[in-house]
């Protein structure tokens, strides 16, 4: 009982410590100052949310258990921020150019927010188009290769030769072949997505238990019924793995493509801020990217749980 309470309170203690560090110790003179203490604002907002859930946890056992589970991790995270705060802002132990104060990083979210939102939307659009094209082509190729041995014989070499090449290595070629760099980026993302989905789909279909098809045979199912109602559903867990690999691959390609060709997007933002030596903005961009990728993968797993409720625990997220 006491241990539980200590666990729950740990996050609040860590938070108070972080606020004390931020308020009581003056910033190093070498760090450029911000107009407002943005990191302290962040701690304040985080504090209100945490205290709110802490109080709420007294009324619900379920929430209490959840809070108790997450609290030590959150406490550790806030402690880490305090250490960063001490090292970078308070004592400036690292070069201030590359390691800006947390106030400066959080200031970016406030001051640069309209540009960042624009970049997020632009990246999401590019990723969405590329993913849609690559995923549908990959799924179709996978099904064809999985079910038709003759076509597999002729298509497999293409998959083997083109697939393993990192999609971004096409950039010198496609940037000159396509009329806009945006189309080139779509092409590269689609390529990065196409390969894992093709391989995992055909692989999944090839590994379907033979008896599943035999059962369908004895029940009088036709060829297409067997493909769509037995083969594809049975292969879905493997197809999902393909989507997972494809998603992580598409992030890499997205950011690289944006750094090279596009004039908007998170990748472009990172590259542009770097060239202006604004490292606080680079860190802010990285944080946005991390949150964005995390959100997409979480969504992917939510869809998995919906579709594959019958088969849990392929990968945990």
């Amino acid at each position: 009982m006491l241990v539980k309470e200590i666990k729950k309170v740990s996050v609040i203690i860590s938070l108070l410590l972080a606020i004390a560090v931020a308020v009581l110790i003056p910033n190093a003179a070498r760090q450029p100052v911000t107009d407002k203490p943005y990191f302290l604002y962040f701690l304040g907002i985080a504090g209100i949310i945490i205290v709110f859930f802490y109080l709420l946890s007294f009324f619900s056992n379920k929430l209490s258990a959840k809070f108790e589970k997450k609290a030590p991790l959150l406490a550790g995270g806030i402690l880490l921020l305090s250490i960063i705060n001490l090292v970078c802002s308070k004592y400036a132990l690292l070069p201030v150019l590359f390691f800006p104060s947390l106030d400066r990083v959080f200031a970016v979210f406030v001051k640069d927010r309209s540009l960042i939102v624009k970049c997020i939307l632009s990246s999401a659009k590019l990723l969405g188009i590329g993913f849609l094209v690559g995923a549908s082509l990959g799924f179709i190729t996978g099904i064809v290769v999985g079910f038709n041995k003759k076509l597999a014989y002729w298509i497999n070499p293409f998959i083997k030769i083109i697939g393993p090449i990192p999609a971004t290595s096409w950039s010198p070629l496609v940037l000159s072949l396509f009329s806009t760099s945006y189309q080139a980026a779509v092409f590269m993302i689609a390529l990065a997505v196409w390969f894992p989905i093709t391989v995992m789909t055909s692989n999944g279909i090839n590994n379907v238990q033979q008896t599943y098809f035999e059962v369908a045979d004895t029940l009088g199912a036709g060829k297409f019924y067997k493909i769509f109602k037995v083969g594809i559903p049975a292969a879905l867990p493997s197809v999902f793995l393909g989507f997972f690999y494809a998603t992580t691959g598409s992030f890499i390609t997205l950011v690289t493509a944006e750094m090279f060709g596009c004039k908007s997007g998170i990748g472009w933002y990172l590259n542009w801020q770097k060239s202006m030596m604004l490292y606080a903005n680079v860190y802010a961009g990285l944080i946005v990217l991390a949150l964005l990728c995390n959100l997409i993968i979480t969504l992917l797993f939510k869809i998995r749980d919906r579709l594959l409720g019958w088969q849990k625990g392929v990968i945990k997220w």
């Binding site: 238990q209 008896t211 599943y212 035999e214 059962v215 369908a216 045979d217 004895t218 029940l219 009088g220 199912a221 036709g222 019924y225 109602k229 037995v230 559903p233 049975a234 879905l236 594959l308 409720g309 019958w310 088969q311």
Partner: protein, 259 residues
């Protein structure tokens, strides 16, 4: 009555990975009367499953013909229901959807919706329609697989050791259920088993098969009234007779030591 199976000079061989040929079925002849319950019994390698799969059309014989009501069997079809040793339900479908799979595949689900309900009730799975196979026990899954094989009103039900994976008590309960279904449906059942008691308890005829070369050794009519008692004298007589043919009666065994 329908559901007559005639097996006429059926042979089949397999090629081993090392290139040698194995005769899986050697000139098998058998006539199965409509509406009867037949067991194929024998040690592994005697070709009983090969024969069953040939009747189902999943793996055809090399030579000879198998007729169902006078028509040659050339491919699998819904007139022959098949239940495997594992229930082999589709894990992504609920019990109800598993059972109605065949009807949907044939596009007659709408008219036969009521049948699905009836068969779910018949195998005692009412209330579990929306459960997934992994949520149910092995016995319940096997019942569902029986319902799936039966709901399309096959003329013949082929059972490939359907109770082999179940524990002894579930198994005995399921045997009674299969008997009940057989009486209600009045269909021909051909069952592969390697449990002698099960074969005697259930069948009108026990077909004993022996390996090397795989063939039918003897067909024994079980003339016991139903319900049968597993332990009575006549039952045990049949048991000894069958084991003798299979060389498992233990008569030729020399004791290893004397007192």
């Amino acid at each position: 009555m329908v559901g007559e199976i005639v097996i006429d000079h059926v042979s089949k061989s397999f090629t081993n990975p090392d290139g040698s040929e194995v005769k899986a079925l050697n000139n098998v002849n058998l006539k199965v009367k409509p509406g009867s319950f037949i067991s194929l019994i024998g040690p592994s390698g005697c070709g009983k499953t090969t024969l069953l799969r040939a009747i189902s059309g999943l793996n055809l014989q090399d030579t000879g013909v198998i007729l169902l009501d006078g028509e040659e069997i050339k491919k699998p079809g819904h007139d022959r229901g098949f239940a495997f040793q594992q229930a082999n339900l589709y894990p992504w479908l609920t019990i109800e959807k598993n059972i109605s799979f065949g009807l949907k595949a044939r596009g007659i689900y709408k008219e036969k919706k009521q049948d699905v309900k009836e068969y779910i009730e018949m195998v005692g799975l009412k209330g579990f329609e929306n459960s997934y196979p992994h949520q149910l026990s092995g016995g319940m899954n096997q019942r569902a697989s029986l319902a799936r094989a039966l709901v399309g009103h096959p003329k013949v039900l082929l059972l490939d050791e359907p109770l082999g994976a179940l524990d002894a008590f579930t198994r005995m309960n399921m045997q009674d259920e299969i008997l009940r279904i057989w009486k209600e449906q009045k269909i021909t059942i051909i069952m592969v088993t390697h449990d002698v008691d099960e074969a005697i308890y259930l069948s009108d005829q026990v077909v004993i098969m022996t390996p090397r070369p795989a063939k039918i050794e003897k067909v024994i009519d079980i003339e016991l009234a139903r319900p049968r008692a597993r332990g009575n004298e006549d039952f045990l007589k049949y048991r000894t007779q069958i084991l003798k043919i299979l060389n498992y009666a233990g008569e030729n065994v020399e004791p290893e030591y004397y007192l």
